[in-house]
Subunit: 121 residues, 4 copies
């Protein structure tokens, strides 16, 4: 099976400021090459708060899902907080591949970064 | 043999907008250190559509190829769609090393990102 | 246990110039998924100077810490030097996951980059 | 021994244009944690030309070296060509850790990207 069921992203941050017509955001980009639906749980870790564990998403078989963290809500309707450093653990019911990207439009021109998640055996 | 035959890139996106004299694009950058031609197939996965599988490229022995995804066409002349999230699987007949980069010139100044592909054993 | 106790980041640099309201900086972003406090030592390596070894930080259990390198001081109050290339070794008493990011605001618009650290077995 | 003796970077490019007081460039950033000098050979691979193999550099024990590719010359005084896609193989006499970064100042604001090299066993 291609991929891993758990991935880690230590550097998460939702830039609160956006200039122009693109919103500052992050995305957890998933590819599911199995023949089953991937049920995905995202846990957010903070510097001074208890983890938030109740965020869920999914990715179909042979589909990608670029999960927008600025649009994600947990089971109680809570959003991922902006302007606070966090880290992310991504757990899936089937093996997936995970990449994390940030778009920052807080100044006159946008900035982008990306990295593969760190896969857990 | 140096490299792997299959590589995954979950975060693909062709920015539709370009400002200035550089076109927003992505490249799948390949290095082939074997003594044979690498015949390369690229499969594109989407959020709500069936995968597009008929994209082919190649890379000579001891050569690099920075495959421009905005210039790639499949066997029917179809282009990789712009303004739609996708993921990429790269399959090669011989082991290669794969890196993926994006240039975004949608605002007044360009942005760049890059990551190694995720190698499949 | 999830993660590794030692991580390497070869490309470190604190941009001396900042424009606008964001300071150019780097962060070593740590996630600790163990049930113990991670006591962290950072060693900085230079091109022409002896390493600086006396920088310490920490990360609680189930917490992240985005360690700002522009704010870090060693046991004698010394800062990480700006405008000098360096590399970083991160050692932790328990397994952690480490990502490194740079914000550069030296020109009219900011630039960002990131990568996972290189884990040592 | 920490690190590997061979590293691959598929996406190399020296942007020919620079605006402002920072020159567009790339760096191969090396950390040497062994107790011996690392003698380093860089080979550049192109899309349509034979590889250039005669580039040498070094990195002392417990030192980093951010090898500027825009300043590197081979044994005949040749520079790495600008405005041409290339890939890089880095070979060292002792294990090292390698990260690759690009600074692009071709538009009004700079852009940065980075990734760890791909280590060869």
């Amino acid at each position: 099976m291609i991929g891993k069921k758990t991935w880690i992203i230590p550097d998460g941050f939702l830039q609160p400021k956006s200039i122009g017509n693109q919103i500052s955001h992050e995305a957890v980009c998933v590819l599911n090459l199995t023949d089953q639906l991937a049920e995905i749980q995202l846990t957010f870790y903070f510097e001074d708060l208890e983890p938030m564990e109740r965020f869920f998403s999914e990715c179909g078989s042979e589909r990608t899902h670029h999960i927008r963290l600025d649009k994600l809500t947990d089971q109680q309707g809570k959003e991922v907080p902006r302007d606070v450093p966090y880290a992310i653990k991504v757990d899936s019911t089937v093996p997936i591949i995970v990449q994390h990207s940030r778009l920052d439009t807080s100044q006159e021109a946008l900035a982008l970064f990306t990295t593969m998640g760190f896969p857990i055996e």
